[in-house]
């Protein structure tokens, strides 16, 4: 399948995925006011308003070094920043460093180069459920379904160090999907992937919106940026533009 045809299919899926969003009049999921990040004396970004709606997909673009990854890491609770106020699912979040557990578990961040733990692929995918106290019996079918969804069922007991970049990325997406996050933050999910591996990853993303997550994707990938139904954010000169 060519990339062009694939993009059209993905776009259609994205539009379907965004149907609930239109129905629900874009309920606010995450609202941040006054978000500033400094690296030493340098102000990396100063964002007045950042709103993420439920059941929505966003691409976050910007030049290299604009702060896309840092912004995702801040939203993911992995990096500190100055935040005037933060609301999530209609609730004010009073403590943002670190995130309270409920928020911590509602947002999942996936690295540009995901790292897999030195255990089996299945255990990697079930990790988030295990730390939530789910029993192995409850985790097993969820993991099996996620592996089938990501096309990695045949890798169930494989040593993760033997996986290709595309396989690792799909395992990381499956690992995030089983948690049914309210907000999923993907940092350059298709970078360093080409051909079928890239298309397989792109195909998985809209189905996660369909499943109920909102997604913010930092990327340079034209096929992701140009998808219909995806809202575009751009970090330029330290400010966030809605396009």
């Amino acid at each position: 399948m060519s990339i062009g045809i694939h993009s059209q299919i993905t776009a259609a899926v994205f539009e379907n995925a965004n149907a609930p969003q239109r129905d629900e009049r874009r309920k606010a999921l995450l609202g941040v006011r006054g978000l500033r990040k400094r690296h030493g004396d340098r102000l990396l970004f100063d964002i007045d308003v950042l709103d993420i709606a439920t059941h929505s997909a966003y691409v976050l673009t910007g030049m290299n070094g604009a702060g896309k990854s840092t912004l995702l890491r801040v939203l993911g609770g992995l990096e500190r920043a100055e935040i005037d106020s933060l609301r999530f699912a209609g609730e004010d979040v009073l403590r943002v460093h670190p995130y309270p557990r409920a928020l911590r578990r509602a947002i999942v961040y996936v690295h540009q180069h995901p790292i897999l733990f030195s255990t089996s692929v299945a255990d990697n995918i079930g990790y988030g459920l295990a730390v939530r106290g789910e029993s192995p019996a409850a985790v097993r079918p969820v993991v099996a379904a996620a592996m089938a969804w990501a096309g990695v069922a045949h890798l169930r007991d494989t040593d993760p160090t033997k996986l290709s970049g595309g396989e690792k990325q799909r395992v990381a997406l499956a690992r995030a999907k089983v948690l049914q996050p309210r907000l999923l933050l993907l940092d350059e999910p298709t970078s360093n992937l080409d051909g079928a591996a890239r298309e397989q990853v792109i195909a998985l993303i809209p189905t996660m919106v369909e499943a109920g997550s909102s997604i913010v994707i930092a990327c340079h990938d034209r096929d992701l940026i140009n998808l219909h139904g995806v809202q575009r954010l751009k970090l330029r000169d330290g400010h966030l533009e809605y396009r």
């Binding site: 992995l78 557990r101 995901p114 790292i115 733990f117 988030g128 730390v131 160090t161 033997k162 995030a176």
Partner: protein, 236 residues
């Protein structure tokens, strides 16, 4: 030359005839070293992990002290513990001076900086994405620590093995705190020092062979672990 070969032959005889005095010394050494190590390992790993992962005021001073403590002469540790455990010292009431408990305390103090520094290095050397991924997937702080230490397990195991090597081969602290009492606090290293000073080389050589064997076993295990770790890193 004949005296040396004669001593070596008698040393092997002691080893293979199961000389009870010799093996009691080995047992005291191994027991106090393992108990001291077991006591030192949990706090050292915990401190090493926290220092590696957290940023706090005075962190660099802690790292500096931990690394400096690696080169601390064990005889100095022995002197300090002697003063603390002596009858008029603040810990004199424990009556641990010249006892195996005193040696265990000394081994614990000697092992702690080795374990801490090696754990610190192992966790610091680990890709930070392991901890971040665990956090991003909703792990609580204790669960993150378990995950990170599991990923750094080769380095942590190397820390434990190095700590064991350090305590079983040290002489200064065991001599000062244990007192080298036959059948009670005489360890491999203190016995070698004593027997050599008396001109009795056979038992010293036999104990030296045991010590070298233990060192070879420890380092062999370490090499096996490191070999596995290197393979994993190459594949990753």
């Amino acid at each position: 030359m004949n005296a040396i070969s004669d001593a070596v032959l008698r040393a092997f005889a002691l080893l293979f005839t199961g000389d009870p005095d010799l093996w009691r010394i080995v047992w005291v050494s191994v027991k106090t070293s393992i108990v001291g190590l077991l006591l030192a390992t949990p706090p050292a790993i915990l401190i090493g992990y926290v220092v590696a992962m957290r940023r706090f005021a005075g962190r660099r001073i802690v790292i500096w002290l931990a690394q400096a403590a690696l080169s601390l002469p064990t005889v100095l540790v022995g002197l300090v513990l002697y003063l603390l455990l002596s009858r008029h010292g603040p810990l004199g009431g424990l009556q641990w001076l010249f006892s195996q408990s005193g040696i265990v305390l000394g081994q614990c103090v000697v092992a702690l900086p080795v374990l801490l520094a090696f754990t610190l290095a192992a966790v610091q050397g680990l890709d930070p994405r392991y901890a971040e991924t665990a956090i991003a997937l909703g792990a609580a702080p204790l669960q993150v620590m378990v995950r990170v230490l599991h990923e750094a397990r080769f380095g942590v195991m190397a820390a434990v093995l190095s700590g064991f090597g350090r305590v079983i081969s040290e002489v200064g602290c065991a001599l000062m705190v244990g007192g080298n009492i036959e059948g009670e606090t005489r360890t491999i290293t203190t016995a070698i020092a004593l027997e050599t000073s008396k001109g009795e080389f056979a038992q010293g050589i036999a104990l030296g062979i045991v010590l070298v064997s233990i060192a070879l076993l420890m380092n062999g295990a370490l090499m096996l672990l490191q070999g596995d770790a290197h393979t994993v890193r190459e594949r990753a």
